[in-house]
């Protein structure tokens, strides 16, 4: 009953100043529209850039680093136990790159309930032979099926098929940058040289493009077994074990655990790619800052219109009070006006924001470095809409708070006396 009366009076005052009301509401609509589009677009861009790295990166990577023995022989001497050891002569052993017991480790990992998948890999530093010059490169020996499943490998094979790697012996998928330098076509044979100086011929079955140009100049892919052949190693030889988890946030914890259990170095994605997280969060922060600034500006618009309305409606406020409306009622009336502007403006803003982001999402976006992307990326995260809605209500409430309080404190006697 009372709520209805307050609402009715608010609506009457609102419609009496319809033009200004619409202007104030469009301010909110505009800012929420921009807020939503900006965040959706930035979110899409962030996802794209993150995925560029994150999709291609294992959550935990097991490997061996070329490191000297941690415990040098001198440390075993009781005679020098209290002394500073500067005699360090045991150098890194050859072959330390191999993960020992890789078979057993992979088996154990596949049983781990945290693990979504395991892909073994061999990183083989090589040279591409182009006529007389040698170009440094890395051949990744991969398990094609596991790589497809965990890292959508096929998406990045821009020409040829990843499965050809399995079907054609001694084949290679070349990084597109390297391929351009070597002027090769699919079906051509190339020569590579290993770090130990041996030459090895490989047949090109496809080109690979990750979108990271530096990587595409260097990286190439072959099967695990071909890479073992290149190195002249047995089938158990694996330099990397890539692990994808169900929960990426578990990575740092599990990396530590795997390190101690398997005795191999283990690095988690958060540590390996800290800079990408920072980039994303800065971009997100900027979007929020811009969006909220827009909202605050809209809030001042509402503040102005309410102040103006209160100034114009002094007589009405006085008469309401004289006929028995309390300060609290008057306050409720103006807060209702503010919130109505906020709700209507905000709701339209959410709709327009959705429309605008959908529109942006239709704009063609072709980048040679991003083969899987055809249009501008948009992230339709409901969170943005929720935040937009909540913020539009909060800002309009705050914008309405002081004018409403002012209205509630108007002394009817002052007005009626005709001051």
């Amino acid at each position: 009953m009372k709520v209805k009366l307050i609402a009715r009076i608010s609506m009457a005052l609102l419609t009496a100043r319809l033009r200004q009301t619409i202007v104030a509401a469009s301010g909110v609509t505009f800012s929420i529209t921009m807020f939503i589009s900006l965040l959706s677009f930035m979110g899409g861009l962030n996802d794209l850039l993150d995925n560029l790295i994150l999709n291609r990166t294992p959550h935990v990577r097991l490997y061996n680093e070329v490191l000297p023995t941690r415990i040098q022989p001198i440390a075993g001497s009781t005679y020098y136990s209290g002394a500073y050891h500067f005699v360090r002569h045991v150098k890194p052993k050859n072959q330390l790159l191999e993960i020992r017991n890789s078979d057993a480790i992979i088996k154990a990992l596949k049983k781990d309930p945290n693990v979504r998948g395991v892909a073994p890999k061999n990183m083989v530093p090589i040279f591409y032979n182009i006529g007389a010059i040698y170009l440094t490169g890395v051949i990744n020996g991969i398990d094609v099926d596991a790589e497809n499943k965990l890292f959508t490998f096929q998406d990045y094979v821009v020409e040829g098929k990843s499965s050809d790697l399995k079907n054609i012996p001694n084949s290679i998928i070349l990084g597109i940058g390297a391929a351009r330098k070597m002027l090769v076509q699919i079906g051509d044979n190339i020569q590579i040289t290993t770090s130990s100086g041996e030459r090895f011929p490989l047949k090109v079955v496809g080109f690979y493009q990750s979108g990271i140009e530096e990587a595409d100049k260097v990286q190439s892919y072959t099967t695990l077994s071909t890479s073992q052949k290149i190195l002249g190693k047995p089938v158990s030889y694996v330099t990397d074990i890539q692990i994808k988890l169900f929960d990426i946030l578990m990575a740092p914890l599990l990396a530590k655990r795997y390190n101690s259990v398997f005795g191999a170095e283990a690095i988690d994605i958060q540590t390996a790619n800290a800079q990408f997280n920072t980039g994303s969060s800065v971009r997100t922060l900027i979007s929020y800052a811009v969006g909220i600034t827009l909202l605050i500006v809209a809030g001042f618009g509402i503040y102005n219109i309410l102040n103006m309305m209160i100034y114009e409606k002094m007589d009405s406020i006085a008469i309401l009070k004289a006929t028995g409306f309390s300060g609290r009622d008057v306050n409720a009336i103006f807060i209702t006006i503010a919130l109505t502007i906020g709700l209507v403006g905000g709701a339209l803003g959410l709709i327009f924001g959705f429309g605008l982001s959908a529109l942006i999402g239709e704009i063609p976006f072709n980048s040679s470095s991003l083969p899987t992307v055809k249009t501008y990326p948009i992230n339709y995260n409901p969170k943005f809409y929720l935040i937009g809605a909540v913020f539009s209500i909060i800002t309009t409430y705050l914008a309405g708070y002081f004018p409403s309080r002012k209205a509630s404190r108007i002394d009817p006697v002052d007005i009626i006396r005709g001051k």
Binding site: M1, A16, S316, I319, K321, G324, S326, G327, V413, I416
Partner: protein
């Protein structure tokens, strides 16, 4: 049976801006239920100031005020608003209707605020009040479509909507021509005689005052005659 609708005991008020001026001093009087009382006095003698205090709109004074036997001391804004809504009908010199609402709605607003009856009952009552004042034809018009005299009649209808304890008027005919002010006076008289409505009307018009049951005369913030 005697029933005091208003009792003022030693009410004084001073303004302090820019210097302290005592506008009302030791005002004591009472009004019985059903009385039609007028207040007269020279301009600036404090009539309006007194009326604002009696109507609870101004709570900044010394002395005691009883409305319907209820002490108004220490009442908060909301409680005083409630008293105004329920017990006092106010008619101003400048009608003061809300232009955003039609005349019927203007009359209804205090009734809806009171919340004692459902909206359709309030609407029916409002229409009846407009009828008493002979202005029911203007029910669905807006205040700015009416003449001054008509507006004042709508304002009186609004003052009546909650069947108030007393109607207060601050020079309600001050802005009207002779014909219209006679009309308004006759309405007040009819309310007093037929409906036993208590009325307290501030006026400049000596003819008007002479025709009320009792006239209180003020001078320099004091009552010099209780009539």
């Amino acid at each position: 049976m005697e029933h005091k609708v208003i009792e003022s005991i030693g009410i004084s008020k001073s303004f302090h801006d820019p210097i302290t001026v005592k506008v009302l001093s030791e005002i004591s009087f009472s009004i019985q239920a059903g009385e039609f009382v007028s207040i007269v006095g020279k301009s600036g003698c404090g009539k309006s100031t007194l009326l604002y205090i009696l109507s609870t709109m101004d709570s900044n004074y010394e002395g005691k005020l009883y409305l319907d036997g209820m002490n108004m001391e220490n009442k908060v804004d909301r409680e005083r608003a409630r008293v105004r809504n329920e017990k006092i009908g106010f008619v101003f010199q400048f009608h003061y209707l809300l232009n955003e609402f039609n005349n019927l709605q203007n009359v209804m607003l205090p009734g809806l605020k009171l919340g004692k009856f459902a909206a359709d009952k309030v609407e029916h009552d409002a229409y009846e009040k407009l009828k008493i004042l002979g202005i029911e034809d203007a029910a669905l018009k807006y205040p700015n479509q009416l003449s001054g005299g008509q507006k004042q009649r709508v304002a009186i209808a609004r003052a009546l909507i909650n069947e108030p304890l007393i109607i207060m008027g601050d020079e309600p005919t001050g802005n009207l021509d002779k014909k219209n002010s006679d009309n308004v006076f006759n309405i007040f008289k009819e309310l007093a005689e037929e409906y036993h409505q208590s009325l307290l009307i501030v006026t400049h018009d000596m003819d008007f005052a002479a025709n009320t049951q009792r006239t209180i005369t003020m001078e320099d913030g004091k009552i010099i005659s209780h009539g």
